[in-house]
């Protein structure tokens, strides 16, 4: 055994020789030490050195193994590829060594809180090819979408084209954007336009916005209406009506000899409310932990539509009908605060709405501004 052999060699040497050897290893020695003490000291130094060398050897072997494995793998891959791919593989291998080095340096720094030795040119890549599902949580069976890391996947060119100007269908859409404005868009096929223009006195399209509050609209009995000629090519309209809680119908029409001839007619829309209102105060008890579908079942045929559930429940509870959960009386005494908080006509609410831009929009706008760049998009 090497250790034994070295001990024997040392034993055969004089005290002066041993002192010299010990000094070579920078051990703390003095002339007063006996030969036996020197031998013991040197033996411990040798042991430490051997351990260190053994560790280093193991490390080297490990590194060699990894390197061999890597080389083997890359050789296997490389042989399967054409000459061009070989060159790329080599490049990747050299880059990955650089990356590993820099990641190790950073990892070490992370754990020891020491200043990391940074190699500025090295890029850090930590993406791993994972066999885990893309969606790692939940108990749903992995599906075909669970494909792990796809960052190096090549995507099929799409050539999607552009969005069409028209879908060549006859349609009209209308939405009450706010208490003042209606937004409307429409699409008309050429055939439809041609057909109606045969009956038109001026070959023009018009948009007609009719207030139909509290009436059954027959095309001519609107409470009032707005009429605009539609410029050629226009397909949407913002109409200022300023009519909270009024009902409207929008039509695309032509003028015929007999009056307006509707081509498209929208559904009836109700403009949003813009003020507070008084009305009957009705309460209901709806237990939170009983599913609504269960409550619907309890009410049975008495419930004509789920939009009446709360009112029906309230009525039954006030009538003390038999229900599996009790009616808990509310405390309505304090219900006089609203005017005090918001003013008799809700001025406080309007002030609040005007100021509502504040940070919500500013924040989101700045997020978008900070993190995006149109120029990048163009380059893509």
């Amino acid at each position: 055994m090497p250790r034994k052999k070295e001990s024997i060699d040392l034993i055969g040497r004089s005290k002066e020789e041993l002192l010299k050897i010990a000094k070579k290893f920078k051990a703390e020695v003095s002339n007063s030490m006996t030969k036996a003490q020197l031998l013991k000291l040197l033996e411990s130094i040798t042991e430490k050195a051997e351990d260190a060398s053994k560790k280093a050897k193991t490390q080297i072997e490990k590194t060699k193994d990894i390197a061999r494995e890597k080389i083997k793998k890359s050789k296997e891959t490389a042989t399967k590829q054409i000459e061009k791919t070989k060159k790329i593989a080599k490049k990747v291998e050299s880059v990955s060594k650089g990356i590993k080095k820099s990641v190790d340096a950073i990892k070490k720094a992370s754990f020891t809180r020491q200043k990391p030795k940074v190699e500025p040119k090295a890029r850090i890549v930590l993406e791993q090819v994972s066999d885990k599902p893309v969606h790692g949580t939940g108990d749903v069976e992995p599906t075909k979408y669970d494909m792990g890391d796809m960052s190096r996947r090549k995507f099929v060119e799409e050539a999607l084209g552009t969005l069409p100007e028209s879908y060549d269908v006859d349609t009209i859409y209308v939405v009450p954007r706010d208490p003042e404005w209606i937004f409307c868009y429409w699409d008309l096929s050429r055939e439809t336009i041609r057909h109606y223009f045969t009956q038109s006195v001026d070959s023009k399209l018009y948009i007609k916005i009719s207030d139909v509050t509290n009436i059954i609209y027959d095309g001519s009995n609107a409470n009032r209406y707005l009429l605009y000629e539609i410029p050629y090519g226009t397909k949407n309209w913002y109409a200022f009506v300023d009519a909270p809680e009024k009902d409207f119908i929008v039509e695309i029409v032509v003028k015929s000899r007999y009056g307006f001839l509707p081509i498209l007619r929208s559904k009836t829309i109700r403009m949003p409310s813009a003020s507070m209102s008084k009305g009957e105060v009705v309460f209901a008890t709806i237990p939170f932990d009983i599913p609504l579908v269960r409550i619907k079942d309890i009410l049975g045929p008495r419930l004509k539509d789920i939009s009446e559930l709360a009112y029906l429940l309230s009525r039954l509870q006030r009538e003390k009908s038999e229900l599996p959960f009790p009616y808990i009386s509310p405390l309505p005494e304090g219900a006089v605060l609203i005017e005090e908080l918001w003013g008799p006509n809700g001025e406080g609410v309007r002030r609040y709405l005007k100021g509502s831009e504040e940070i919500l929009e500013r924040l989101r706008r700045s997020l978008v501004w900070n993190l995006s760049s149109d120029s990048v998009i163009k380059e893509r």
């Binding site: 599902p133 995507f155 099929v156 949003p272 009305g279 209901a284 429940l313 605060l337 940070i359």
Partner: protein, 526 residues
């Protein structure tokens, strides 16, 4: 005995941004920055509170599109790469600032902070943020609400009930998958309400939603307790209204806490401030300067000459603001209790990303607020919205008003000159999806697969974020491209299914790219 309740609600949402076709993609940074500055710091605050035995209750929405990104292995690994790069940068910053003590201590602060974030994300949470939120939910601290599947603006789908239904039911399903239970509450995207949306909430057994203040106050009739108690809509689903007072205290750019001069300045970032060659390895590979999250200055005042940020002073200020917020809520609750005769609930909803990303000290503010509320007063308690309804099952019946929480309170932000062009395309796609679900689904595997992908493309196109970005007018390119791509992919699938000529190779690539909602249910589109 408490006299009322405070319900803080954080709305966490980001549009689904995932681009495996690029090595790095600028807009993915939205997600990475939000993890570093908001989601992880919040979880860290929760850990501390729970560990110290502080009783707290918080309501948080996690939109299905955000949850999908949190669950995505590619994005998780890319985030880690992003984090390692910041650790690298801040290590370098420690050397660069060694002769500037006020900046050197900040460089160390950031370096240590990013190391801790890495530890939390990689080692402690194993990259699974959803599991952590679920843990705090299961322990009773959090009420997690869902949002529309891709944050689609529901009032503009009103004419196509299946589209509304698909947004809500898909959200319900994905929430269940993530958090192991059905959502009891929903944040209607942009708080945008139309009468009748409850029909779909009813089906999902979602028991409450949130309205902006006027959505309740302009309801029929105006509720007797204002926004300080929920109401039942005629469908039996409850609605809470936003308290304007507490919102303003935090939100307002002028009066709100985040504008305090001692807080960190958002706009001064080393990504823009430092020498180009030095910072180049840490910005976009194309050389575009970006925010790195390493910021050395405080707001200072309305001046360009900013002072160095002092973390200790900023934290003291966050504690003072938390105390002020608590004091104001005490007075508010006492007043409301005496006037209304009930234990009022004050609902204070905020964009989650405000806390940490925009207002760097926001998570610390919440930390102090919960601790002070727990230890220093007895007037109010924090509560979850579910718990309040459980304890107070009797409420007034009110028909709410059309509204949203956007500028001016209605739909204008999402329907105006810059973005209304998207709706004809969306509505056609919604009709076509209905046609695919009714007439073509269930006939053969490949077409079924294509139809499921068509559903994903439609959902992704519906995200209200695209219209919002178009309105802001600052980064229209990406939003337009995303919207257009999803509609065109949808259209191609529609045409291929109808002509029984699905291109499998292309379909596969689209599935790989837009991989949201792997178990999407086409039945909802019928």
């Amino acid at each position: 005995m408490e006299k009322g309740y405070l319900a803080i609600l954080l709305h966490a949402h980001l549009p689904f941004v995932r681009h495996p076709e690029y090595d790095e993609f600028l807009e993915e940074d939205w997600f990475y920055e939000a993890i570093s500055e908001t989601y992880l710091p919040l979880l860290d605050v929760f850990e501390g509170l729970a560990g110290d035995g502080v009783g707290f209750h918080l309501n948080i929405t996690i939109s299905p599109s955000l949850a999908s990104m949190m669950n995505d292995e590619l994005l998780r690994n890319r985030y880690l790469k992003h984090l390692y790069r910041l650790i690298d940068l801040t290590g370098k910053e420690i050397d660069r600032t060694k002769h500037q003590p006020e900046f050197n201590s900040l460089a160390w602060f950031y370096h240590t902070r990013f190391q801790r974030l890495r530890y939390l994300f990689e080692e402690k949470y194993h990259k699974d943020l959803i599991a952590q939120f679920k843990r705090f939910q299961d322990a009773g601290y959090l009420d997690i609400l869902t949002v529309g599947a891709t944050h689609g603006f529901l009032p503009l789908m009103e004419d196509h009930p299946w589209a509304v239904r698909a947004q809500i039911m898909t959200a319900r399903d994905y929430h269940r998958r993530c958090f192991g239970r059905d959502p009891k509450g929903i944040w209607l995207p942009e708080c945008a309400y139309f009468n009748g949306v409850e029909r779909f909430l009813f089906e999902a057994d979602i028991r409450y939603f949130i309205l902006d203040t006027h959505g309740l106050l302009y309801g029929k009739p105006t509720p007797v307790y204002g926004v300080y108690s929920p109401i039942f809509t005629p469908y039996g689903v409850a609605a809470y209204g936003r308290d304007p007072e507490s919102s303003k205290q935090v939100w307002s750019a002028e009066e709100g806490y985040p504008g305090d001069f001692d807080y960190r300045e958002f706009y001064r970032d080393v990504g823009f401030d430092l020498d180009y060659d030095y910072i180049k390895p840490y910005i976009h590979p194309d050389g575009i300067r970006i925010f790195t999250g390493v910021k050395y200055y405080r707001i200072t005042g309305k001046t360009k000459h900013k002072q160095p940020y002092n973390r200790d002073v900023a934290l003291s200020k966050a504690a003072i603001h938390a105390g002020n917020f608590m004091f104001n809520r005490e007075k508010q609750v006492e007043y409301l209790n005496s006037k209304l005769g009930i234990k009022p609930i004050i609902l204070a909803p905020y964009d989650a990303e405000l806390f940490g990303h925009w207002w760097f000290e926001g998570p610390d503010f919440l930390n102090y607020l919960f601790r002070k509320t727990f230890y220093d007063q007895k007037v109010f308690k924090t509560i979850t919205l579910s718990e309040y309804l459980r304890r107070n099952p009797t409420q007034q019946i009110v028909n709410p008003a059309r509204s949203s929480w956007g500028n001016k309170g209605y739909y204008e932000v999402w329907v105006e000159g810059s973005n209304s062009w998207i709706y004809p395309h969306l509505h056609i796609a919604e009709k076509r999806m209905n046609e695919l679900a009714n007439n073509f689904y269930g006939k053969n595997d490949i077409e079924n697969r294509a139809i499921r992908q068509a559903a994903r493309e439609l959902l992704l196109a519906q995200s209200s974020d695209w219209a919002f970005i178009m309105k802001t007018g600052t980064a229209v390119g990406y939003a337009r491209k995303r919207f257009t791509d999803h509609i065109l992919r949808f259209t191609r699938i529609y045409n291929e299914v109808k002509s029984h000529s699905v291109n499998l190779k292309w379909l596969q690539s689209v599935e790989d790219r837009d991989n949201i909602f792997p178990d999407i249910n086409v039945e909802y589109f019928k």
